[in-house]
């Protein structure tokens, strides 16, 4: 099989992942999109490893690394999302603007970011 096929699939998967990271509002979906991006990278690595006939199989080794890191990162990420949900009652990324620089008059009785999500 020519290397084009898995590389194109990988690129498509990566693009879908980028779209998900930049455009989805739900934090969990963002995390899933990040997973998608990482797996696309994995596919790319394996495909090139086979095509280049690397004797040390650097691509496949790096794939294993990426799988582990992705798993750890998703675990941590989900833990953060759960903590945010517990305090803010929302995981809408658009609502989580506490790091913004624009000084807005604080709404009394409504912590930042709460409301209809």
């Amino acid at each position: 099989m020519h290397v084009v096929y898995p590389v194109v699939v990988s690129a498509l998967l990566f693009s879908i992942g980028v779209y998900g990271v930049l455009a989805r509002r739900n934090a969990i979906l963002v995390l899933m999109s990040v997973e998608l991006m990482l797996n696309a990278v994995n596919l790319n690595l394996v495909a090139f490893d086979v095509w280049l006939r690397d004797r040390l199989h650097g691509g496949q080794v790096l794939t294993l690394f990426v799988i582990v890191i992705a798993a750890a990162e998703v675990g941590l990420g989900l833990a953060i999302v759960l903590a945010v949900f517990r305090t803010r009652r929302t995981v809408d990324v658009d609502r989580l603007r506490a790091l913004a620089e624009v000084v807005r008059a604080p709404d009394p009785g409504r912590p930042d970011g709460e409301g209809a999500s």
């Binding site: 980028v18 990271v21 930049l22 455009a23 963002v30 990324v93 658009d94 989580l96 603007r97 506490a98 790091l99 913004a100 620089e101 624009v102």
Partner: protein, 628 residues
């Protein structure tokens, strides 16, 4: 010999320093301080006077290079000495003192009148506050005027010139409790300062052209005519300022707010004559620039007649004398314009004597009556006999009646004007003759209304500040009478010394001017006889009011110069706060605004940040691919 000249200048300066710093050291009472101040004032002044006489004798016996000036036969000697030369980087300044016939002539006038005034002031200012500082400033003034007279370098002359202006300011404002006196002093200083700016620029032109500021170098240098005309015109600005000529004459009448001895010394005999003296000193340069002399003649013609008419309409005795001074100085200027510095200097010395005499006598009258106004005076002939006779001599000299010195000196001036050439000469001559008549008129008016007619003395309980003393029954202390008497002598007899100085009387013009003067005096006498209580100035009719206001020149200057400048000043302050500083504050605001714009990117949305990251990454990748 130069040391003598230096001493003449420095003795009054030392007197001033001692008077300012040392009068109250160790004295317990005010009287003691005053007495010490009087000694500080009079002793060095007398020593200076004695040294001046000695210098004059030495110069009379001296031999020197004849320069063909009018004093070269009488006082041929010359003394000059340089202390040091100051390298400025271009034109050097030499600290030089120089004494020749002209300086000694003016110098004698200065020291005699200064001494008379200092003695007079001891009586006049007896119960006045701040007499020690007053006499110290008079000494400082004397020193400055002597520096002008004996300066051998233009910058040294300028230093003395300006210090005179400062002393004039300090002394006019002597009774500063009344803000009007303070304002008059400021006005005097500013008007003369304006003229002095032009004077300094004229000095620059001469010094740069001659390569040095020494007067000798300047007079000997070969300077192109255009440069000379420019330089002398600029110098005229300073002369007009200091000698109260049109258009800078408005300060002199207001300067009468100062004590009367000051008016006698500064604003009659010496400082105002300094301008005439400078022109005489640099006369070869002026002679080589005829356009300047024409301008001087026109200015003098306008000034002499205008001031004489104004004098006729004044009610304040001192203001009459002030306008009279402007008019007489214009005579001297006209003589210079006509080409005769001899006549101008003769009139300067004689005018110095009789005008100082008139002011001192006016002081005696004011001291007695308690008011400056002529309408408060009358019938003082019996109450003030000495004053009456001396003031009569003064008025006679002013009007130009023989045998007083004014007759001879005025004749010399009128003859010089008659012989003068130049496009403006007829105008100047006509103006001079008319002025003779008006002078006779106002002199007669002042004389008659002060000393004759019904007595109108009401002893005022509290004279306003600016007028010394109250009615105390006797004429005056001797310290005030003696100086007046001493000055009456040259006022009467100086004219007879004229022929010895080479000034001959031309009987034709003399007769004409005498007739005109008597005509003016006669008209006033007739009007006065008809109605002794009324003012003979009513002959001016509807012109009385403009004449009294000196043709509203003051108001014009206030509207054209003073108020716009003050408005401009307020505008500048507003512009500074709003525009210039506004730009500075605006830069701060702009920076804050810019940072606000940049902050818009920090809206807390993590996805926006990642988008930015991605965009940057893509750009870098594209750049890397394209550029390599």
């Amino acid at each position: 010999m130069t040391a003598v000249v230096a001493l003449i200048v420095l003795l009054p300066f030392a007197a001033a320093v001692a008077g300012l710093l040392a009068t109250r050291l160790g004295t317990r009472t005010e009287r003691m301080a005053y007495r010490r101040a009087a000694w500080f004032a009079i002793a060095p002044g007398a020593a200076s006077a004695a040294l001046t006489v000695w210098l004059a004798v030495a110069l009379a016996h001296g031999t020197g290079v004849s320069e063909g000036r009018f004093w070269s036969e009488l006082l041929p000697g010359r003394v000059e000495g340089t202390l040091t030369v100051v390298e400025t980087g271009s034109v050097p300044i030499s600290l030089t003192l120089r004494a020749d016939g002209l300086s000694v002539l003016a110098g004698i006038l200065v020291v005699v009148v200064a001494l008379a005034v200092q003695v007079y002031s001891v009586g006049y200012m007896r119960d006045e506050p701040r007499y020690p500082s007053y006499s110290a400033f008079v000494s400082l003034f004397t020193s400055a005027m002597l520096l002008v007279v004996y300066a051998g370098d233009l910058i040294v002359l300028y230093v003395g010139w300006e210090i005179m202006g400062l002393c004039s300011y300090l002394l006019i404002g002597h009774w500063w409790e009344d803000r009007a006196n303070s304002r008059a002093a400021v006005k005097a200083f500013l008007v003369t300062r304006l003229g002095d700016v032009g004077f300094l620029f004229g000095i620059f032109v001469l010094g740069a052209a001659a390569g040095g500021f020494r007067i000798d170098d300047v007079l000997r240098a070969d300077i192109p005519r255009g440069t000379l005309v420019a330089a002398t015109l600029l110098l005229l600005a300073g002369v007009a300022g200091k000698s109260a000529q049109v258009p800078l004459q408005t300060w002199l009448p207001d300067a009468m707010a100062g004590p009367t001895p000051i008016s006698a010394l500064i604003h009659a005999a010496t400082m105002v004559a300094a301008g005439i003296f400078v022109v005489a000193r640099l006369y070869p340069a002026f002679l080589a620039a005829p356009p300047t002399l024409d301008v001087l003649g026109v200015v003098a013609a306008v000034g002499m007649l205008g001031a004489a008419l104004a004098a006729l309409a004044q009610d304040d005795l001192k203001r009459v004398l002030a306008y009279s001074t402007i008019s007489q100085l214009a005579y001297m200027a006209a003589a210079l314009a006509a080409g005769s510095d001899r006549a101008a200097m003769f009139h300067l010395v004689s005018h110095g004597a009789f005008k100082a005499l008139l002011f001192l006598c006016a002081g005696l009258v004011i001291h007695h009556v308690g008011s400056n106004l002529i309408s408060h005076m009358g019938g003082l002939r019996t109450a003030l006999p000495v004053t009456f006779w001396t003031m009569t001599i003064g008025f006679a000299a002013l009007a130009g009646l023989p045998p007083a010195s004014g007759f001879f000196s005025k004749d010399a001036v009128i003859s010089a004007i008659e012989h003068g050439t130049g496009p403006a000469q007829p105008f100047v001559y006509a103006s001079a003759l008319l002025t003779v008549g008006v002078t006779g008129a106002y002199a007669a008016r002042a004389w008659l209304r002060t000393f004759f007619g019904p007595a109108r003395i009401e002893p005022l309980p509290e004279p306003p500040p600016g007028v010394a003393h109250v009615f105390d029954g006797r004429e005056a202390p001797p310290s005030m009478l003696w100086p007046a008497g001493v000055l009456a002598v040259p006022a009467l007899l100086l004219g007879l010394a004229g022929p010895a100085a080479g000034v001959e009387v031309e009987w034709g013009p003399a007769a004409v001017s005498l007739a005109v003067a008597l005509l003016g005096a006669g008209i006033v006498y007739a009007l006065w006889r008809a109605a002794p209580e009324q003012d003979p100035a009513r002959l001016l009719g509807p012109f009385r009011a403009p004449c009294e206001r000196a043709f509203h020149v003051d108001a014009v200057y206030a509207a054209l110069v003073v108020r716009p400048v003050l408005r401009l000043a307020r505008g500048v302050v507003r512009a500074d706060a709003r525009v210039v500083d506004g730009a500075v504050r605006g830069s701060g605001r702009a920076t804050l605004g810019l940072s606000g714009l940049v902050r818009l990117a920090q809206n807390g949305n993590a996805q926006l940040y990642v988008t930015g990251l991605l965009a940057g990454l893509v750009l870098i990748a594209v750049a890397a691919v394209v550029l390599t």
